[in-house]
């Protein structure tokens, strides 16, 4: 599917969308559009949710019992399907978050200060 498309650094890292959706739902139930918006806003628009993959992800999460869904009315009086975090979902989010942090730390350690030093070199002439 993604073959032939150019990698875009704003595209979601594989598998993180599920975690982010769960994280978003910690604040309370929300419908698909709000979830996408919240992710984008809280990442300062760095992460762009490819909305086409949002729904399959929601579906997957519901299938595993991490979110539950029901029909409701949105803030602007439209019917929408609302998703909320289940207890199992909260547990999963905790695990995923831990894993992610550990991973990020590990990757950070491997990288060391490689990129930062090289880019800053001209500025810090005394170091």
């Amino acid at each position: 599917m993604a073959q032939g498309r150019k990698p875009d650094n704003r595209e979601m890292v594989q598998g993180t969308l599920d975690m982010l959706i769960l994280r978003t739902l910690v604040g309370g139930r929300a419908h698909g559009h709000t979830i996408a918006q919240l992710i984008e806003q809280s990442s300062d628009d760095v992460l762009q949710v490819e909305q086409g993959s949002l729904y399959p992800a929601l579906h997957r999460l519901e299938d595993r019992g991490w979110v539950a869904s029901s029909w409701g009315t949105s803030e602007n009086n439209r019917t929408a399907r609302f998703y909320e975090l289940t207890k199992a979902g909260r547990g999963q989010l905790t695990r995923e978050a831990d894993r992610w942090r550990a991973m990020a730390d590990a990757i950070g350690r491997v990288l060391g200060d490689f990129g930062t030093r090289g880019r800053r070199k001209p500025k810090e002439s005394e170091g």
């Binding site: 559009h33 299938d63 949105s74 602007n76 439209r78 399907r81």
Partner: protein, 880 residues
């Protein structure tokens, strides 16, 4: 993925559609708020979300079980394909339904009768014990009561052991109830505990009941309890009159119990009804023995101990006929032994029918596959995997077989119900029902036939090289050799199976006709028989018996239409009943331990004239030969030839053991020799002796059959005669009111049943095979019409074309015929025990089958061959 969501995914998809629409609406609202106009806002929303249909498809796919999905598609495809040829489909389904129905029904019966454990606790430990008799002639002989008592006391391999024997009683009516004759057993008190059965009401017999001097007790079977006593439990403790003697009902047996058979109505204590001298006797073989093996003893060891004991008993009593060994077999086998072979033969026959049906469907599918060869090849070229194409075929034949199986289950349950009503003599027949194993069996054979019928054509279709098939334009003439070969070998197998069925049916039918036509030794037309038994109370001595018999005969002879009337203890074809040991005082004594026997019958003086049994020598009984001291006997020809070879039996004597005589013996003078009568239809002729029913001699003068000959319409006499008897003694029931023809019919039930069923199956498979032959040949002709057209155009004569096609059809038929004959020769010996008076290699049957099959296969091939020979070459070539 959950199966539930898979099934409901259409509804689920609709929900997703609404959800995505809502999402678009939200985005649109947002964009409008940003100041876009409505259309632009919506357009931007779609751009942002992407193609909703695409998203839905992704979601839909997530909910799909791939295998199920494609199977479902195959199924719909198969149903559509089959629906396009409704006649073909209907025939194929019907053929399978017949095959599967017959199999399921017969399997149900076989399971209930032969395979299912008896309905007793730990029934595998229940066995029947038999005496092994004299000079090794008879094995599994009934047991003498004296032997049983020794086994019971002196062996250690059994938890318990019980004895029983058949009895008949006149059951008197109460109020306006008619008296009736009931079949009963006399059972020792151990029988119920040995079987492990509790009575439904009341109690079983106790050791105290089971004595001569005990107060008479009786157990009712559930059917008698309901039929005769209205199911009223207050019958417990009340008395019933059996042979004019009061018996107290102590219990009612459970409804499901049909032991030893369904005809048994009543149980009485063994030692109460069997005379004390009989109970002690080692020579009077009348009873059956059931025992429960001990858990901790090997069956082999248990029977060896009994056998050794019986050998010792035999040595003790050399002057009387005592079994010289003992045998044992499981109770289940014991009850079903007579039905095992016929049922398995029938099962084999229906198995053949199913196989033929399956091959027929296969060969019809092969024909269809061939016409779809290019379609299949194109699909294969486009990437259809072999597995996928194979699956399609199998699914198609599974649809046929599945529908056939469902229909077959219905047909089968009808057939089972019919069998149940038709064969009440089968043990455990009441317990027959369609249960889980039967349904599993039907599912299994359905799946099996479906896969076989589907795989055969599928393999032939998909093994084709794709390129060959694609190159193979309709211009290339003639079907490929391999596919024709497959079709022909299917045909040959069908024909071979049909031949075997036909031979089996022919042999059984011929055996049945022989049996039916067997000479009983008397004239059987217009002869009515009925039995009555005079009880001891009311008919204490011979004078009273004689008085009743004579007055009855006198009055019966007065009834208009009666030509002759007589009495006999057992009519010809009526069974064995009993034999007696004798000596011939004029001959040197036999070696010690050697004994000779003859069946005995009691008759009135006119019996032989009434039955039209010829006198060979001497004279009949005279009417005045009736005092106790008249000691005369008439023997049949077999007895004369066996025991008086080369000498005149007249004036010689037969000597019998008789306790009442001073020297313990009684001599009878032979006064006549008569023609042979058969004691049972299909049995060998046996030595038989006749005594006067009016003389207190050997034999049974209480329980007799009245035989009445009329010029015509003898059945119409049954009612007036019964009324007459009720007038003479209102408490005397009459039983077994049957014409001689009906008696013959009854004893041929099994043989006619087997013969007719196997014949029906054989005819069905002949039909299937000829339809198969016709269908395949017609198809071949259609396929080769181009080739034939060219042949004709090039000058081939009609005869040549005719011969060409005929050869195509007759070749597999001949092959199948040869194989079938070989198979029949190998298998016919298995039928031997079921054939009466017919060799299993009966040449008439074999040549008849060959002829029949030749004619049928010629006719089946002739029609397509003739059509081929009439082919207009121009039309045939233009058709391409």
């Amino acid at each position: 993925m959950s199966l539930r969501r898979f099934v409901q995914r259409a509804r689920w998809d609709e929900e997703r559609l609404r959800e995505l629409d809502a999402h678009i609406d939200h985005l649109t609202d947002l964009n409008v708020a940003r100041g876009m106009n409505r259309d632009e806002a919506r357009r931007q929303a779609y751009l942002r979300l992407g193609n909703p249909t695409r998203i839905r498809e992704d979601l839909y796919q997530m909910n799909t079980l791939t295998l199920l999905d494609s199977l479902w598609r195959d199924l719909r495809y198969a149903v559509r394909t089959l629906a396009r040829t409704p006649v073909f489909t209907a025939i194929a389904i019907l053929v399978m339904a017949l095959g599967i129905g017959a199999n399921s029904s017969l399997f149900t019966v076989v399971r209930s009768v032969l395979l299912k454990p008896l309905p007793f606790p730990e029934s595998e430990r229940l066995v029947s014990l038999y005496g092994r008799s004299i000079k090794g002639e008879t094995i599994y002989n009934v047991v003498a009561s004296g032997d049983f008592r020794s086994w019971q006391k002196q062996t250690h391999g059994f938890e318990s052991m019980a004895i029983w024997s058949n009895q008949r009683f006149n059951l008197s009516g109460k109020g306006n109830q008619m008296p009736e004759v009931v079949n009963a057993i006399a059972s020792s008190w151990e029988l119920l505990p040995t079987l492990g059965v509790q009575p439904a009401l009341g109690r079983g017999f106790t050791p105290e009941d089971d004595r001569v001097q005990a107060a008479p007790a009786a157990l009712l079977t559930w059917s008698l309890y309901e039929r005769r006593f209205g199911g009223d439990p207050s019958i417990l403790g009340r008395t019933i009159l059996l042979d004019a003697k009061s018996y107290t009902v102590v219990g009612v047996l459970p409804k499901w119990l049909a032991y030893p058979d369904v005809r048994t109505q009543l149980w009485v204590p063994y030692y109460h009804v069997v005379s004390p001298e009989n109970a002690e006797s080692h020579g009077n073989h009348t009873s059956s023995v059931v025992a429960r093996l001990r858990r901790d003893i090997a069956p082999q060891a248990a029977i060896q101990e009994v056998n050794a004991l019986q050998e010792r008993i035999h040595q003790q009593f050399l002057t009387i006929p005592v079994s010289n060994g003992a045998d044992m077999r499981p109770l289940l086998e014991d009850l079903s032994v007579d039905f095992k072979k016929p049922l398995y033969v029938l099962l084999a026959a229906v198995g053949c029918v199913l196989l033929i049906a399956c091959l027929n469907v296969a060969s019809l599918l092969v024909a269809r596959t061939a016409s779809r060869r290019r379609e299949v090849a194109i699909r294969a070229a486009l990437g259809g995997t072999r597995w996928r194409l194979l699956r399609e075929h199998v699914v198609e034949s599974l649809v046929i077989c599945g529908a056939g199986g469902a229909l077959g289950l219905v047909l089968g349950s009808w057939a089972t119900a019919w069998l149940q009503s038709e064969r009440k003599d089968l043990p455990q027949i009441n317990a027959i029902k369609v249960d889980v194993p039967v349904i599993l069996f039907v599912l299994a054979i359905t799946a099996f036939t479906g896969v076989i019928a589907g795989l055969l054509p599928a393999l032939s279709a998909t093994s084709d090289k794709i390129m060959d098939a694609l190159k193979d334009t309709s211009r290339s003439m003639g079907a490929s050799r391999s596919r024709t070969a497959l079709r022909k070998s299917l045909l040959a197998i069908e024909v071979a199976l049909t031949v075997m069925l036909l031979v089996g049916a022919g042999l059984l039918l011929k055996g049945y006709l022989h049996l039916r036509g067997a000479d009983l030794g008397c004239e059987t037309d217009n002869l009515l028989t009925m039995r009555y038994a005079l009880p001891k109370s009311g008919y204490a001595d011979q004078d009273r018996l004689t008085a009743f018999h004579e007055s009855l005969l006198g009055q019966v002879r007065q009834i208009p239409g009666v030509e002759a009337a007589s009495l006999v203890s057992v009519v010809p074809g009526g069974g064995y009943w009993g034999d007696n040991m004798f000596e011939i005082p004029e001959h040197p004594p036999l070696a010690q331990g050697d004994h000779v026997f003859a069946l005995f019958r009691s008759i009135d003086p006119s019996y032989f004239q009434t039955m039209r049994i010829p006198l060979k020598k001497g004279r009949f009984f005279r009417n005045d030969e009736r005092s106790t001291h008249t000691r005369v006997v008439i023997i049949n020809e077999v007895m004369a030839n066996q025991h008086f070879p080369g000498e005149d039996p007249l004036g010689k004597h037969l000597r019998f053991l008789e306790d009442s005589e001073p020297n313990g013996q009684k001599d009878y003078e032979i006064v006549g020799v008569v023609g042979n009568t058969r004691h049972r239809l299909g049995a060998d002729l046996k030595a038989m002796m006749f005594f006067p029913v009016y003389a207190d001699a050997q034999g049974d003068n209480r329980s007799v059959a009245l035989v009445v000959r009329a010029r015509h319409n003898v059945e119409s006499l049954a009612l007036p005669i019964q009324k007459l008897m009720t007038r003479i003694d209102p408490n005397l029931p009459v039983s077994d009111v049957l014409t001689m023809r009906q008696i013959i019919g009854q004893s041929t039930t099994g043989a006619s049943f087997n013969a007719i069923l196997v014949l029906a199956f054989a005819v069905l498979s002949l039909l299937l095979a000829s339809v198969g032959l016709y269908g395949v040949l017609s198809y071949l002709v259609a396929q080769r019409s181009g080739e034939i057209g060219i042949r004709v155009a090039l000058g081939a004569g009609r005869q040549q074309v005719l011969g060409l096609v005929l050869r195509d059809g007759l070749q597999p038929a001949a092959l199948g015929l040869a194989a079938g004959l070989a198979g029949s020769l190998a298998g016919a010996r298995l039928l031997q025990s079921m054939l009466y008076g017919v060799s299993p290699f009966d040449s008439a049957v074999f040549s008849g089958v060959v002829l029949l099959l030749a004619v049928v296969s010629f006719l089946a091939s002739a029609a397509p061959a003739w059509r081929a020979s009439r082919l207009d070459p121009l039309k045939a070539l233009r058709m391409e």
